[in-house]
Amino acid sequence: MATMRVEEVFGAERGRILATLIRLLGDFDVAEEALQEALTAALEQWPVAGTPGNPAAWLISTARHKAIDRLRRRARLAQMQDEIARHIELIAEEEAPVPEDRLRLIFTCCHPALSQEAQVALTLRTLGGLSTEEIARAFLVPAPTMAQRLVRAKAKIRLARIPYEVPPDDALAERLEAVMLVVYLVFNEGYAATFGAGRVRYELCDQAIRLGRMLVELLPTQAEAKGLLALMLLHDSRRGARLDASGDIVLLEDQDRSLWDKAQIDEGVALVETLLREGGSASGSYALQAAIAALHAQASSAGATDWKQIAALYGLLANIHPSPVVELNRAVAVAMAGDVEAGLRLVEELDQGAQLEGYHLLSVARAELLRRLGRHTESRAWYEQALALVTNEAERRHLEKRLRDLP
């Protein structure tokens, strides 16, 4: 029972506690080791002495004293007297976890001086509390490779002295963009699962949404953070309807909408409405993508979706971030809004641009639109092209089924 308590506190608070310890101790590894020791002490002491009134503060305080003891022992050997002095001085400081610490931590983990792979891994390890093995599994790399990636990143933070602080106002927007990109990468990795058997790794989606909430809570004036959270909530609301019992993909238009998470949709839509009211057509790209997802989420059926508005939103998105993928989505929305011929023309133009060469969804879109127009022979050829490019197993099965279903 008491054991469970320790783990409950630890699980929920790990990121916050670690963030504060890194600030107090000035080193990722020292903080992680100390936290591990404090957890061991808690497992021994709490069942006997009772759970302390403020378990997080207890863990921080204990971890810190463990770290100082360790540094003292090491300092005696290496005569690092000034380091002892620095840490003893710190004892007098505030030990409660402050929210700002988690923000410092995510900005350090997502510092542009680290590779993006390392940013993702460090964020999940420190703020998400995932084990090295779990992160390795999620990104399909061997555990020793992931462990080495984390060790190198932490060494670079220490040796190059990447600061542990929230960037100043003039750099905040740019740095926040990098943080949001990492959070969205984590979400997409969980949601799309590019390779392998296609089991959707929802743990990553949950982690990303938790991080998104943290950004909104700690940076309340940053509109794009709200946009990112809304986007993730709305995509994730369809979790229960995206795969059928045998693990095959169910297209948006065929999903059982009663399986969508209503509470999550309401939360996402409310965020989008605030954003559009405040930002209008000057909204950022996450807000616009969230607005598109909100239109899908609010429609009672695929046919009842406001595709005209969706096509217009993709147009706005293309203005901010010109991208062939956005253009492809706009083309599909134009077709869905009723003008299949016009949509197909846009898709064909994109295909000539060659920027999307090898992108299976372009072939899929072409096949789908040709099917709708009754041009089945051409449609078949494009499904076959898509099958030659696809890497995800669930998507492959889905395309094979579409191909079989052609008259």
């Binding site: 040796l159 190059a160 990447i162 600061p163």
Partner: protein
């Protein structure tokens, strides 16, 4: 905390640009460094001659052998260095982002200077 800025340039491009431009870039870099020095951030630095003036010494078959040319043949080569004393990496990066040589199209690598023996 001390950092070395390693300034890299595409030599064929650099060498082909008009002398007046190269002089202007040099003067801007000197002025920038002097400003950094006045704020206690700059410890020193020098430009280097082109890599076709380089000579490399390495051990071959137990003998220290001298060869013509740089350590590695690369498109961009080391063209100079500066030593910066800053609070942390962000402070150095802010300095480097505004460096006139970056604006002139050169690349600057930032490396922490290790204190003492290898650990």
């Amino acid at each position: 905390m001390r950092y070395m800025l390693l300034i890299y340039r595409d030599e064929s491009q650099w060498d082909a640009s008009p002398l007046s431009e190269r002089k202007a870039a040099f003067e801007a870099a000197v002025a920038y460094s002097e400003d950094l020095r006045s704020r206690g951030l700059y410890e020193g630095g020098e430009p280097l001659e082109l890599s076709n003036t380089a000579t490399t010494v390495r051990m071959r078959d137990g003998k220290a052998t001298v060869t013509d040319g740089p350590f590695a043949e690369t498109k961009e080569t080391l063209g100079g260095y500066s030593i910066i004393d800053a609070k942390d990496l962000d402070e150095v990066l802010a300095i480097v982002r505004h460096h006139p040589l970056v604006k002139a199209g050169l690349s600057i690598e930032v490396r922490p200077i290790r204190m003492g023996p290898p650990k």
